[in-house]
């Protein structure tokens, strides 16, 4: 029996502690993770500022075999149908580079829930394929005329430096909502871009966008219903680890200044780096499954600020973990 994600969380137990991890959220995470694969790149999503609350769980799927393994544990759902369709050889979905599934843990679960699904695109993914093939496959139905018009507007308004990196269906949240996540914009060009696609958002995104000044990798996410919804996400990260990249600390410092993150949360986030082995966690290491070999690594992924015109900003932290043989 291969290790489950829950096995790796047991290996990491000594790192799952306050201020980032609270017992209730961690226990719920572990219960779900026990039934999910342990050999996939994994990301935990945590809320900053007033730590606590749910910890969501996401996995990267790099191909059909991984897609089918996740599909097998899902309830009957559009997410399951999409992953199974992606796994078929030589179809219009075969050009998907990789996909992510995210399990929301904002409520007590009796079984594995249907996840949010997200496809990673190449920079040259054609717009007609996005609107006519990918989104309908993820969403289980064609786009509405308004959604198609907005996706086209968002795509055609991109500056040459930017492209759609991820496409989501948020169907599992009970909403007929799509999400585009755009890579290659800066805090300044985000505003110019929004001025073209969602001009009313510029006034309430301007402040949060400035938090990401100097950040190496910035993502902008837009939720699309019958209009661009008043909820815009900005994410930031650096390719290097925090001990080599001072920009991480500066970014967290700006979040702290805005009351979005506490200093002890910053310190814990910057310290999410390293590896465990049989030697550091002998009792929890899944020896029966894989022997005493390999490394369970952890590293900081990125932070996100969610902007809404009528609500306080919200900051989230994304922590990566995985197994290296």
């Amino acid at each position: 029996m291969p290790p489950s994600c829950g096995d790796w969380l047991s290996v990491l137990q000594r790192h799952l502690r306050p201020p980032l991890f609270k017992p209730e959220g961690t226990e719920r995470l572990r219960r779900l993770a026990r039934g999910l694969p342990g050999d996939l790149l994994t990301v935990l999503e945590l809320r900053l500022g007033n730590s606590g609350g749910p910890i969501d769980l996401a996995f990267r799927l790099t191909g059909p075999e991984e897609a089918l393994r996740i599909a097998d544990v899902l309830p009957a759902s559009q997410a399951r149908r999409f992953l199974s369709a992606w796994a078929e050889p030589d179809t219009a979905l075969s050009s998907i580079h990789s996909a992510w599934v995210e399990f929301d843990l904002d409520r007590e679960l009796r079984e594995v829930p249907s996840p949010v699904v997200c496809a990673k695109l190449t920079s040259d993914a054609p717009l007609p394929w996005l609107t006519g093939t990918l989104f309908p496959a993820m969403h289980g139905k064609p786009l509405t005329p308004a959604q198609e018009r907005i996706v086209r507007l968002c795509h055609e308004s991109l500056p040459s430096s930017a492209y759609v990196l991820y496409a989501f269906s948020l169907l599992s949240r009970g909403a007929d909502t799509l999400r585009l996540e755009i890579f290659g914009l800066s805090p300044t060009t985000i505003l110019a871009y929004l001025d073209r696609v969602a001009p009313t958002a510029v006034s309430w995104v301007k402040g949060p966008a400035a938090l990401f000044q100097g950040v190496e990798r910035v993502h902008l996410s837009l939720d699309i219903g019958e209009e661009i919804l008043p909820r815009i996400g900005i994410e930031g990260s650096f390719s290097r680890l925090p001990n080599w990249e001072p920009g991480w600390r500066k970014l967290f410092g700006r979040l702290i200044d805005q009351g979005l993150c506490r200093p002890e949360e910053r310190d814990a986030a910057l310290a999410w780096r390293g590896s465990d082995t049989f030697w550091t966690a002998p009792a929890a290491w899944p020896v029966e499954a894989i022997g005493p070999v390999g490394f369970c690594f952890r590293k900081l992924s990125h932070v996100k600020v969610v902007c809404r015109p009528d609500r306080r900003l919200e900051a989230k932290l994304y922590l990566m973990l995985g197994y290296l043989p």
Binding site: A58, F168, A283, F297
Partner: protein, 83 residues
């Protein structure tokens, strides 16, 4: 894993002192001797694998650890799908 190695692993999990003793031996030949002297007739190759994981990943290894989705050894941050 041979039965003998399984027995050694079980004892290493139960007894931190034993694990620490073995961890302080850097050399494979000495580790094999150490095991045999304690009654574990394990193969050298099994101990080699065990000793190879007795280290931390380097920063370079950590930076490469997510698989290189961008073809340059780095990977884009995963999507932030939080609601």
């Amino acid at each position: 894993m041979t039965g003998e190695f399984q027995r050694l692993m079980a004892d290493l999990r139960r007894h931190p002192d034993l694990l620490q003793d073995l961890g302080e031996i850097g050399d494979l030949d000495r580790a094999v001797r150490w095991a045999h002297e304690r009654g574990y007739k394990v193969e050298a190759e099994e101990l080699r694998e065990l000793l190879a994981s007795h280290r931390e990943l380097s920063d370079d290894e950590l930076e490469q650890a997510a698989g290189g989705d961008w073809g340059d050894g780095t990977t884009p941050p995963p999507p932030g799908s939080g609601g």
